[in-house]
């Protein structure tokens, strides 16, 4: 019987759950697949409906979590096996090599500029920027430690030569560790649906059709363009932007559920565009406006009245491209005026479905828990045990158990932390 807790997923939910548990005096292991914690929230520019800078409110939490004496943060690591029962889980964790000694690296970045190969797509910036073979995951990464992409590295050794700390070890081996915990909290989040399968919208074929997450990076001050809305085709600012809702969600051919946040994040993104460029024309194509949360409807009303965002009730049929200007052209049925119209804009942002993160099936198998029909984690009871998975001692919170926004994910994380403590107390730990 142990009272340590494993948290899987280092996004805002996992971070919050870890901090809460650690605050209670429990030992926490936080495992994150990406080389930095932060999750999707770190990629966002602002949050709705308050318009707070996302990384500004998240970064202190990331630091608090990482530096907490009760929390052991394992980045670039994956859970490979779980055995035992509630109160007594044995967990195998694979620490993938980052080819850098985390203890020695100071994050100075000298090696980053020494790397001669700088043409790899940067994952964090949605491939809108290129990075080298040795890189810091992103500006505010925690831990601020470099990592080597060995798949592409030619082992020239430039980085090793320049590193004063002697932190780089290109022959680092993967390491498997075993930990012993009493409860597990899963908060592995979501991924953005790849819309290239929806051929009619031309993602991948037309440069100026991008996803909402790409847009977040474009408009972000610490993003690849420094917050300038440079559209991909000509690196110029478009005059107008159209946001298309429900791309791959509320669509039985892809994901039947509502992703829950897109009506609001599109509204936010349109407002941001208008704030950056007062002459920007914004259009939001929606299926049904779902502004259900606290302050949401008021936010939408402000977008309409103060920011002149035009809401059009329609799911566009097709996007084509003007061959010369590379402007996307939207063909849609305006369901209010009952007319088929054509709208040429400078940039199209597809508000794609948010889907369970890649590898959730494997993780569910490792954990021995069930998924629901949309591949989110199944919860024991939606009313009375909304944070329990189908296996005792394993709790699920955040987007990985169903669509929700940041405050709700944080609420759940806090609930899951309390629930984990409760489970351990009941077991007599």
């Amino acid at each position: 019987m142990v009272d340590d807790v494993l948290v899987i997923g280092g996004g805002v939910a996992g971070i919050q759950a870890s901090i809460d548990l650690a605050g209670r005096g429990l030992k926490v292991y936080l495992v994150e697949r990406f080389p930095s914690i932060g999750g999707k929230m770190a990629q966002l520019d602002k949050t709705f409906p308050t318009g707070d800078c996302s990384i500004c409110i998240l970064a202190p939490k990331m630091m608090e979590c990482f530096s907490h004496e009760n929390i052991d943060v394992l980045t670039h690591a994956e859970v490979k096996g779980v055995s035992g029962n509630a109160g007594d889980f044995r967990v195998k964790i694979l620490k993938k090599p980052r080819y850098v000694d985390e203890e020695k690296c100071t994050g100075c970045g000298d090696c980053v500029s020494a790397c001669p190969y700088i043409n790899l797509p940067d994952e964090f910036d949605m491939a809108l920027r290129s990075r080298g073979n040795i890189f810091i995951p992103f500006l505010q990464a925690v831990p601020r430690v470099v990592m080597v992409d060995r798949e592409h590295c030619v082992k020239c050794g430039n980085c090793q030569v320049i590193c004063d700390a002697g932190a780089i070890d290109l022959y680092q081996k993967p390491e498997e560790i075993e930990i012993h915990v009493g409860a597990i909290i899963v908060a592995c989040g979501f991924d953005s649906f790849d819309p290239s399968g929806i051929k009619e919208y031309g993602y991948g074929r037309y440069k100026n059709v991008i996803t909402a997450l790409e847009y977040e990076r474009l408009v972000c001050a610490s993003g690849p363009t420094g917050g300038h809305l440079d559209r991909p085709s000509d690196k110029k600012t478009p005059n107008s932007i159209a946001f298309i809702q429900c791309v791959g969600s509320r669509d039985v051919n892809h994901n039947p559920y509502c992703s829950s946040v897109c009506c609001m994040h599109a509204t936010k993104e349109a407002i941001l565009a208008k704030e950056h460029y007062p002459s920007m024309e914004n259009y939001i194509f929606y299926t049904d406006m779902r502004a259900f949360g606290k302050g949401f409807q008021e936010y939408v009303d402000r977008a309409k009245n103060e920011y002149e965002v035009r809401y059009i009730r329609s799911k566009p049929g097709e996007i084509t491209e003007d061959k010369e200007t590379k402007n996307p052209v939207i063909w849609y049925d305006d369901t209010v005026t009952r007319q088929v119209k054509r709208l040429e804009v400078g940039l199209v942002v597809l508000c794609t479905a948010l889907v369970p993160s890649k590898g959730i099936k494997e993780l569910a198998d490792v954990l021995g828990v069930e998924l629901d029909k949309n591949r989110f984690f199944k919860i024991a009871d939606p009313l009375y045990a909304p944070l329990d998975s189908s296996r005792e001692g394993i709790l699920v919170c955040g987007y990985c158990q169903g669509p929700k926004d940041i405050p709700e994910a944080v609420t759940q994380a806090k609930g899951a932390a309390a629930r984990a403590a409760e489970v351990l107390a009941c077991l007599g730990a």
């Binding site: 669509d251 329609s314 049929g317 097709e318 849609y332 305006d334 088929v340």
Partner: protein, 380 residues
Amino acid sequence: MSLENIVNETKAYYCLECGKCTGSCPISRVNKGYSPRLTVEKALLGFDKELLADGGIWSCMTCNLCKDRCPSNVDYTKFIRYARAEALKTGYTGNCTHGGVLSSLMRIMGNPNLKQDRLGWVSDNLKISEKGDILYFTGCLPYFETLFKDIGVNSLDIARSTVKILNRIGIKPVVMPDERCCGHDLFWTGDLENFEKIAKLNVGLIRGTGAKKVIFSCPECYRTFKQDYSEYVDMDFELVHISEFLAEKIDEGKIDFGSLEEDVTYQDPCRLGRHLGVYDPPRKVISSIQGIGLIEMEHSRERSICCGTSTWTNCDRFSEQIQKERLKEAKAAADTLITACPKCQIHLSCAMKSKTPIDEVKIKDFSVLVASAMGLGDDP
């Protein structure tokens, strides 16, 4: 079938009224009065009489573009088919093109007493047989030849080329002198009584030849046999489109192509593409020809645009607009357009002859192209 049943059968009650169908529809784009969304809405709101009297239900090309994109999986194509059958019972019908001669021909072919003489086109150099394993189903080509010669379409070239290709790979296909039209257009315009007669006659005739595999050069015949006959009659033979058949033979190394220095583009017939999902075999065959450049149009594969009209119904100025747009797309890609459907060839060639001329695009059938690439093009 009552309108309520049609709604249930096609799951139209799942409609979100999001407008993706109408926003996708090539007709709605040119004809402001036509909207798949509003058509479904009529049924959902119980405006039965208005729906059945609506000429719009006959304008639909049943090309499946909206069906494939519908986020609620409403089968609009099926919806239209059922609504037409119901409208026909009520006494409404679409505007038959060509004075209704083709519908008449199809109904005549449902008559079991008819003894056709279809093989006038089989010249001495073509080897066919009466019985055998492999049968070539020519479809309406002999009739099309008569009706559309004046717009410069020689539909029987497709049949001749297909037989030549098969002969070259050592096959003497069965070609039936009294084969019937497949009934595709009757099926899609709601005349199920005559369709059933035709289906039974055709399957009976094919059984009589002992064929184990039936090859089609017309995607409409192919779809009809593959998906629609089974409701009415049992079949015990394999069905294959010539493009699929040839793609397989290329894999087996049984086809030798000469070279053909030409850039072409390919029109996906909606029956072959979206209805049956056959996108790659024709492309594979075309690009196996040495020297040929296959350049895709702006709208290709899943996004391909229909040739403007179908089932010989409601061909109007909107059809012409769609056809001309398509031809412009083709011209932007290449000077020659290849299609695997005799009707695409007829419709697009007709648009080319219209009063307001457009840039010349050569329109060639798939089999004709393949035959000339195999050096079989010039002999009569």
